[in-house]
Amino acid sequence: ASMDKQTYIIHMDKTKITASDHTLGNAKPWYELMMDSMHEILSQEEEDMSPLELLYIYKTSISGFAAQLSTKQVQSLKRLNGFLSAIPDEMLSLH
């Protein structure tokens, strides 16, 4: 499963990130709610239980995170409230 994974940059609409039922009432920042939802969704996947390999959470100039994900996990994450896009990571060059 790890071999099939690649790094994606997941862009989120932070205004649409809401607490799930059991986290309601917690005054968590949006990115913590996002992580909660993401773990919840991925843990529901029966076939792919490999742990999430989170690289970064982006909080200031963009909203989202970078993680190593399988294509199945990417599909699952599309169910996240506020999900906008998943862009595969790529290499840029010095000029």
Binding site: K14, S61, L84, L94
Partner: protein, 651 residues
Amino acid sequence: ITHTPQFLGLHLGEGLWNAPTLASDVIIGIVDTGIWPEHVSFKDSSISQVPSRWKGTCEEGTKFSVANCNKKLIGARAFYKGYETIVGRINETMDYRSPRDFNGHGTHTASTAAGNLVHNANFLGMAKGLASGMSYTSRIAAYKACWRRGCTNSDLLAAIDRAVADGVDVLSLSLGGFSKPYYSDNIAIATFGAVQNGVFVSCSAGNSGPFSSSVSNAAPWIMTVAASYIDRSFPTTVKLGNGKTFEGSSLYSGKRTKQLPLVYASTAGGQLAQFCINDSLVPKLVKGKIVACEQGINSRAEKEEQVKNAGGAGMLLLNAEIYGEELLADSHTLPATSLGASAGKAIKNYVRLNKNPTASIMFRGTVYGNIAPVMAAFSSRGPSLVGRDVIKPDITAPGVNILAAWPPKTIPSLLKNDKRSILFNIISGTSMSCPHVSGLAALLKSIHKDWSPAAIKSALMTTAYVLNSKRAPIADIASNSSKAATPFAFGSGHVNPKCASDPGLIYDITSEDYLNYLCSLNYNSTQIALLSRGNFTCPNNVFLQPGDLNYPSFAVLLDQNASNTSVTYKRTVTNVGTPMSTYVVQVDEPNGVSVTVEPKCLKFENLGEKLSYNVRFNALRRTKSSTNFSFGCLIWMSEFYTVRSPIAVTW
């Protein structure tokens, strides 16, 4: 950097380099290969305490500790998680897993933007002088996100995100990739967030010129920087056995060669010997001779390596036709020089027609006073593939043969057996021009603390100049300097810091304006949300067209087949010059287009006052021989100010 400050009109104790301007606290974030903190360019003498607003830090890592930061280098972080997932764990014999710079590029760009004063800086005696960054009292924060094989987007985004949170005022990115729509371009997305937070973002345009539409980092909120030659060169004279001489360029610091046998292609080796690729040169044919190598297939350093390994006594690097008379100076370890395409052609003919061709190379050191600026052939060109309604690149700054700080443990040449240790290196690229503009933006920010990133950008663009030191149009070296460069090469022109500090009028742009521009591109709500981060809805009942973005230049798209088509764009200018001032418009019409401006006169009574005008571009009848582009400009002139906007028409 030595000499470029003077070339740009910056002098110690005067104008933008006077005490009040320099006392201001501006923080420049450099996203690059890290930094060599002990370098004399980053000493913190004469610099005040770190401002309390600064939230950054110096991260510990391999051969890097908190103690490496000071009042000059106030932040240093490293981002490698994305890189290591793609390339594997960083080999610490090849790089430092910390903000320390192994490559040299980040140290060079950081010192160009904001390096402190260093007397008698030089590269092996060349380009000697007082070195300083463009804004030599500004603070530096180094965000290392580029490693041996490149920079991953995930690391770059982490660096940008962190830099903005830390509180940088200016971000400098001398890197890039292929251009793509803004909603799928991670750098465009992240830098939009930076600009929303008041950060000025300067990016290199790329080194893929002179090919058309090669520009990268072309989002309108980014300052996209092209590269030029300054008036300094490192000339060589190549003399052939037939008496003909050619001028080249080299940073070789040794003596001239004797007149030696000259070999090329089949007289130097086997297949592809003309490119001096791996194992193509035959030592018995090359030993003790000068080898001519054509540009292409492998790098310039690799060609030198091959010539050295085969026992060559010297090398002539011949430009491919497309790069014209481009003359980049390389820090060779054997007598070698680059030569333009026309010299290359003559030399290849000479070798073919003579049984015993010979050549010598003389190295003439550092020479000043060339006609300048001239556009570098390698500098990437517009029009932008993703936003034809904005002229890109935006501006030009020095980017050829730039001396700046270098880690003493990093060899200057990329050659395997180079043992030289230097403190300053001379390299070329839009990577080098970009931090010039970052530093200049910091200077403007220090004077005009309330100016938005777009206002600073406008000031730099509308005051840029388009004539060289001989009062002739800036030439393009890709055309052998026979043709004037166009706005698709130099944008609004060559940066002019003194005028930019007092531009008279500015074209300001808010975050909402940029988002309306994206709406006018028919982006859907998801695409808009990617950039706005979710708090913007396109207005319903408003006519939006991309050309109405309040940009300081005009990119006009006209239909080739329809006669009498026209477009009208609106602009709003803010008076930042003198309170009571009158501006009159002057237009240099692009070929095949009539331009009408209403009103033709703008009368301001107060500072900060905004006035709008409409400009109508009307297509005239065109001939079949017409090119796809034509260029002009629109200038608002007052008693004290000239506010110039280039016009580029694409048919």
